[in-house]
C-alpha cells in the first residue's frame, strides 16, 4: 500500500491485513519495538488535532522511529503563502512517509501527485478520514465482528468525514447501514452514489427510535453549531440526536455505542459507566491500528516493489 487517501484504497483484504497486524501488536507490543529505527514520519497538520496527531507520533515512536513535525500553520512557511504542493514536496525530502491533515477536500489526493513517499490522509476537510475508519473497524471487529452487522450512524452525516470513510469501508462487509440525521445533514450525494454502486444495504432515517432496537452498534457524531443559521435552530435539532441512559432503554443490552471523539454533549456522561460505552476503548485503539498501518506501508515502501528504498 503506497498511500491511504480514501477508503477506496481499502479493499477488504487490506483492511483485514491492517486489523490482523494491529491485533498482533496489541497482543505483544514489545515485538514491534525496534522495527523502524531511524525512520522519520513527517507530520503535516494544517488543522488542530489532538488524538490523530498524538497517536501517529506515538505509533511511529513505539515502532522505534521518530517524527518530524511541521508545527502550527501560523509558525510555518504556510503563513508566507507557500502552496501545499510545495511544502509537501520539501517535507517529503526530509521524511520517509507523510501524514497530512488539511481543511480542504481532496488535499491528500492532490499531494499524492507531488510526492513519492508513502502518504496517509489524516482528514481532508469534510472529505475522508480513513485511519479513523481503520480503528473504528478494529473496535467493531473486537466486540461484534464485521459481518452480519447492523450499524446505525448518527449525527452530522453531511460534513462528517469519519462517517464518509466508515460508510465506504463497511460496504466490504455484510453490514446493514442505517443513517440517522436531520434532513439538512443527510449523506452527501457523492457518498450515496458510492454506496449505491457498491450495492450496500442502506437505510436513511430522521428518527433514532425507528431503528435503535435493531442495532448492534450505534456510531454517534457531533452536530456542529456552525452548520446552522441560528442558535435556536441548532439547539432544537441537535437535541434530537443526543443520547442518554433513557434513550438506550429500548436498545439491545449488547448495543455498543461508539464516537470518534471529541464529544461535547451528544452522549451523556452517565453512559460512560455502562457496558454500552465503547468510545474510550475506540480511541485507545488508535495507536496499535496506526502502528499496524505504518508497519505495512513502510514495509511495502522498502521492499523490492516499493521503489526508492
Amino acid at each position: 500500500m503506497r498511500q491511504l487517501i480514501t477508503t477506496t484504497d481499502l479493499p477488504r483484504e487490506r483492511i483485514e491485513a491492517v486489523l490482523d497486524r494491529a491485533a498482533e501488536i496489541d497482543a505483544d507490543p514489545s515485538a514491534f519495538r525496534d522495527r523502524y529505527p531511524g525512520t522519520l514520519l513527517g507530520l503535516m497538520f494544517y488543522e488542530p488535532s489532538t488524538r490523530t496527531h498524538m497517536s501517529f507520533e506515538t505509533a511511529i515512536k513505539r515502532l522505534g522511529g521518530d517524527a518530524v513535525d511541521m508545527g502550527s500553520v501560523e509558525s510555518s512557511s504556510v503563513a508566507k503563502g507557500e502552496t501545499l504542493a510545495d511544502t509537501a514536496r520539501v517535507i517529503a525530502g526530509y521524511a520517509d512517509a507523510l501524514v497530512l491533515r488539511h481543511p480542504k477536500e481532496g488535499a491528500a489526493s492532490m499531494v499524492s501527485e507531488f510526492v513519492d513517499v508513502p502518504l496517509i490522509n489524516a482528514g481532508d476537510g469534510a472529505g475522508q478520514h480513513p485511519t479513523q475508519t481503520l480503528l473504528d473497524l478494529y473496535t467493531i471487529r473486537e466486540s461484534k465482528g464485521l459481518d452480519d452487522l447492523s450499524i446505525g450512524i448518527m449525527g452530522d452525516l453531511k460534513y462528517g468525514r469519519t462517517v464518509h470513510s466508515l460508510a465506504g469501508a463497511l460496504t466490504n462487509f455484510d453490514a446493514t447501514q442505517h443513517f440517522i440525521s436531520p434532513e439538512s445533514l443527510r449523506l452527501p450525494a457523492s457518498v450515496r452514489y458510492d454506496l449505491h454502486e457498491a450495492g450496500a444495504q442502506v437505510r436513511e432515517h430522521t428518527d433514532l427510535d425507528d431503528v435503535l432496537p435493531s442495532l448492534d452498534v450505534l456510531y454517534v457524531t457531533r452536530i456542529q453549531r456552525e452548520r446552522f443559521p441560528d442558535e435556536e435552530e441548532y439547539r432544537a435539532v441537535a437535541g434530537e440526536y443526543q443520547i442518554d441512559a433513557g434513550t438506550l432503554e429500548v436498545a439491545d443490552d449488547d448495543l455498543r455505542v461508539m464516537h470518534p471523539l471529541p464529544r461535547i454533549d451528544e452522549i451523556a456522561p452517565e453512559i460512560d459507566r455502562t457496558d454500552h460505552a465503547c468510545y474510550f476503548e475506540q480511541a485507545h485503539n488508535g495507536v496499535p491500528v496506526r502502528m499496524a498501518l505504518l508497519d505495512l506501508m513502510l514495509d511495502d515502501a522498502s521492499g523490492p516493489s516499493g521503489g526508492e528504498a
Binding site: 504542493a85 480542504k104 477536500e105 481532496g106 492532490m110 481532508d124 457518498v191
Partner: protein, 152 residues
Amino acid sequence: MPDRQLRVSKIEDGTVIDHITGGQALNVLALLGIDGSSGEAVSVAMNVPSERLGRKDVVKVEGRDLSEAELDVLSLIAPEATINIIREYEVVEKKRVERPDRVVGVLACRNRECITNTDEPVDAKFEVLPEGVRCEYCGTIIREDLADHLAI
C-alpha cells in the same frame, strides 16, 4: 438543405457546430473562449427547428478548429452535437462528439472547499459518469448545469 433554412452566410474556413442542445450556443461560445473581441466571423442560430432535437442551436466560427479538450466538454453540454470542418466553403470532415472518460482543466469543481479551488498548482479533473461528472479530488458529483462550471 432548403434555402429558407440558411439563416446565416456560409463560411470559407472554420467549423460549424450543428445540433447543439437548444439554448446552449452561448455556453458553447464561452467554452471556446469566443466573445467576438478577436475579430473572427461568428454566426449563431438559436432555437431553430430540428427534426432530430425539436429545436437546436448552430454555431459557425470562421478560422477556428476545436481541440480535443474542447470537444470533450462540448460532448457534455451538447451530447448530440455534430462538427463540420469547412475548407473553401466545403464540408471536408463531419463528426459526432464522443463522451470522454475524463475531462481535465475545462470545468471547475462546484465544491468551494475543494483543493482545486485554491491557489494550488493543479487543474480540476473529472471522471465522466453515465449522468454527470465527478471531481477526481474531492469526489463531488455535478449532474446539472455543467456549463455553469466552465473554468474559463
